[in-house]
């Protein structure tokens, strides 16, 4: 079966975001961008399913600016077979993203779509679930184990309190949690090879999707700053401070 893997180009997770002085957003000029870490895990899982003989082809998809090509090339270097860039400079919301992925799923007929559980910029945690609603497919979110068994997939999910396992009819949507796997590094020969793998460029209009935002960002501000308190000299001083606050056994 074919696996569709949406990936997003985001601010690198090691970079501390800076809010723009005019309150319009986070400054993304001249900062390091990378593939969303949860999406890397999605690409890795798809590759592992291909290595096990479950998947036959992996199609990586990204919606974003021309530079999102780099993110797709990273997915291709890891082991994806081909890529589709849906190019737009707009900031596309999860609902519109899900509509674009739905149109691509209709055209490609994948057995599984594997997305990250959330992007580390918008922190929405919505796109996979929305895509599942639009396709009418089952969803296995926050996955820490994925096993395809015939025409079903069993997904172990990380939930509050522990783990739970659900069995879903294929085709299905899976969103990855951090513990699903450890993504591989792309080797230099694979990075070179990825340059000649096919990458189609489309636009949201090609899929008939209107990307006008439904939610307007009125302003973006710094969170309240928490300042450093005091350093205590020893355990006795800490105990005294805690007792003064009313913390004791």
């Amino acid at each position: 079966m074919k696996i569709l893997v949406p990936v997003k180009r985001v601010l690198d997770y090691n970079v501390k975001p800076r809010v723009k002085a005019d309150g319009t957003g986070v400054d993304l000029a001249n900062v390091k961008m990378s593939m969303n870490p949860f999406d890397e895990i999605g690409v890795e899982e798809a590759i592992r399913l291909k290595e096990k003989g479950v998947a036959t082809e992996i199609v990586a998809v990204s919606v974003g600016p021309a530079k999102a090509q780099e993110t797709l090339r990273t997915a291709l270097a890891m082991g994806a077979d081909r890529a589709i860039l849906v190019q737009t400079d707009d900031d596309v919301e999860p609902l519109a993203l899900a509509k674009i992925f739905k149109a691509i799923a209709d055209a490609e007929a994948p057995g599984l779509v594997i997305l990250g559980k959330q992007a580390i910029d918008g922190d929405n945690n919505q796109t996979g679930q929305m895509l599942a609603a639009l396709t009418g497919w089952a969803q296995g979110t926050f996955a820490s184990a994925v096993n395809v068994e015939g025409d079903h997939v069993s997904v172990t999910r990380e939930v509050d309190g522990g783990l739970e396992t659900v069995k879903l009819k294929l085709p299905a949507i899976v969103t990855t949690d951090l513990r699903l796997n450890e993504p591989r590094y792309a080797s230099l020969p694979n990075i070179m090879k990825a340059k000649s793998k096919p990458l189609d460029t489309k636009t949201p209009a090609d899929y008939g999707v209107d990307t006008t935002p439904r939610v307007k960002t009125v302003k973006v501000s710094e969170p309240p700053v928490r300042s450093a308190g005091v350093k205590v000299a020893d355990v006795d001083e800490l105990v005294a401070k805690l007792k003064a606050m009313g913390v004791h056994s």
Binding site: D123, D160, G229
Partner: protein, 309 residues
Amino acid sequence: MKTLVWVEHDGKAVKDATLAVVTAASQLGEVHLLVAGSGVDAVAKDAAQIAGVGKVHVADNAAFDHNLPENVAPLIAELMGSHDAFLAPATTTGKNIAPRVAALLDVMQISEILSVEGPKTFTRPIYAGNAIATVESSDTKLVLTVRGTAFDKAATSGGSGTIEAVSAGSDAGISSFVGAEIAKQDRPELTSAKIIVSGGRALGSSEKYQEVIVPLADKLNAALGASRAAVDAGYVPNDYQVGQTGKIVAPEVYFAIGISGAIQHLAGMKDSKTIVAINKDEDAPIFQVADFGLVADLFNAVPDLTAKI
């Protein structure tokens, strides 16, 4: 505005996570609740007692056990014909269901709201809590998830909601629940605890976590937490994890022990009232947010603290 609040429950009682959502919903308008599952009469009665609740919709059907979104989302979407907003807690259950509901209604969801600023205006954290966005919806119906630590909990008594059965919904037949491994904890729940004692990678092993962290938590009747590094290293189960990708907590007192304070961890606990850090490295970023910092070897300091407090 009529709101519909998802009641998170374990089949016996309403979970605490629901109570903060009721507070958020009451800032928007009339509060209606939805209790879904089989044999949930006791939960519905419980729910009707919550202060400020108007109607409690009860969908009694085995298809709604285990909160499978394929079955539950269409039920909610149908009930949204007579409601203006759907609110769920930003727990793994709420996050699993709400976006599916939003897409069925063709509206954008607003995730993890921190405050209600107007009938359609909310604040929410982005970039792991490093920025706060004020956002305004233009959709006709609202779908929101609510960060539990940002709202006070509604009182569990004093309400007089009316219970009403709902016959909608059925099993979509595309998903089934196989089983669960729920970690047993005989102590307060992490997200609602007044005190949390968290351990990090510096502990070095699961044994040391048990030996150093657990006795202090026991003595303070605190919940146990951990950094992602400690979870990934296998010292504790993953549901102990505090952070952007784990649980978001805001207790009265948070003990960060052997935790450096990476932004992913800070995103989960920096709204705690008082933060106490014990770390050997005096340059650890955790000290930039700690109210009380102790630079010391945790293997000496923590047992000493446990003995003296």
